[in-house]
Symmetry: C2
Subunit: 316 residues, 2 copies
Amino acid sequence: MAAVSLRELLVLGTSSAVPTRHRNHNGYLLRWDGEGFLFDPGEGTQRQMLLAGVSAHDLTWICVTHLHGDHSLGLPGVIQRVARDGVPHPIAVAYPATGEEYYRRLRHATSFLDTAVVTEHPLTGPRPSLPAGPLTLTARPLSHSIDTYGYRLDEPGGRRMLPDRLGALGVHGPLVGRLQREGVVTTPAGVTVTLDECSEPRPGQSFAFVMDTRLCDNAYALAEGADLLVIESTFLSAEAELAERYGHLTAAQAGHVAARAGAGHLVLTHVSERYDAADEPRFLAEAATTYPGPITLAHDLQHIPFPRPPRPTATT
Amino acid sequence: MAAVSLRELLVLGTSSAVPTRHRNHNGYLLRWDGEGFLFDPGEGTQRQMLLAGVSAHDLTWICVTHLHGDHSLGLPGVIQRVARDGVPHPIAVAYPATGEEYYRRLRHATSFLDTAVVTEHPLTGPRPSLPAGPLTLTARPLSHSIDTYGYRLDEPGGRRMLPDRLGALGVHGPLVGRLQREGVVTTPAGVTVTLDECSEPRPGQSFAFVMDTRLCDNAYALAEGADLLVIESTFLSAEAELAERYGHLTAAQAGHVAARAGAGHLVLTHVSERYDAADEPRFLAEAATTYPGPITLAHDLQHIPFPRPPRPTATT
């Protein structure tokens, strides 16, 4: 009954301010059925998309947390590629309104045949919210060195049809669709059946993207109950003082956000160039001291499946 | 007697407008003793520098041929890296003056702590020329879809000391340096010796960088007698009509420029994404139909030694 669904996080880049041999600047594509949300395109995102098998046609939204280069210098290349490849649909771009001048420079950074259709959403206020395809995109200010918004995507709740109940009440074929649309049908046997009798509530899923920030209330609010939480963990606990000073999180703090918010799958990323592969187990170990659930330390070009929704309740 | 010399071309990226799996956007560093000339930093140049072992401290000049993204979108990242790494010396940047507005956007593309010392050289006129360390940088307009300058670097000629003649005339130790500086010395034996007697002319070397352009007089003028010529060859001859329409060269045309200009080592690059590795021998073969000298089809992260100057003449 559900449309064919492809929901995954495609990791394009995972470094913080300075790229490394194995980590390109930031970049993440959330594929959500027909939508493609590109978060924080750092420099080189255009090529990382190629390496990851992502087309400019796959994009529908670009969400920029803030106008530091490692989160936005890839924007011109992505938009120019949208134009060059003749993407016919509009691309919505969200970014902090106080970064408008930088956004304009990036949008028109160099000479190109500008056929891209871009709709801009400069963000202001404590909790701007926008419809984004079938989802709702909500942003909240974070605590960094310049204005920064974290993002959250929420799927509306719905109802999951229960085939056994439909069968028992004699609802078959086209009647099922009509029941979903209209909420009540009469069967050929003359029985009136309501949607509630044949379905159960299906909570919507949610995704949160939190960077760059030190610990703050909005980091928790964005992550609240998220099925998948992508959150920066620039530092390890030994550098907690640096993290606080520059407006970043440690892995243990990221874990704490996930735990207190009741998040599902925790994805750590935005790793300082001071660490190398040998340090990676420490990120996982430190986050695990505060968060008991599943943790991934993101790598470039990694595919992370979106967690499956909870199983239907028994219907027999 | 000569200072320790490191002269090489470090290839950072070799694609044309669209990067491929194996070719990043344009970028080339010419190391010339203590100078570092970065040509056409396309997107991702900052990371390509890292992969190639180039530090921001190695740069002294950035030369941008034109303000298309594949030749300039890496500029913000490079400048921001210069600032972040605390490079103390000024970086000179040359670009077509008509691209000033785009240059300004790239220079101040996003928020960063801007401690970079940048001296700008917007180019106008038919043959702007600038001192560039020990070299002379000359630019000439090319024939592309927007204003584009090709570049050329010339080392001044000098004199090569001839050890056998110095010995025969009794010039030893500190007297040699004085002869080089002052042009004439008197030996302990009372003999007056002039520089001309103990040396021979040493022609300066030269480097040319020609892209993007269709065939035009200035392509030949830039390449005239260059020891190393880096020139775009976006297309093969089968696509000559496309090359002409979009202001590009074929490999055979690039070879023709090298041949008529009497260039030394020919380096082809800026390859269209329509070609793959299997097509590469065709670039070399087509260029070889017009140019009989050494030809390299550039690859990312390749080191190309600068051709050695001609051997001294026999002195016995």
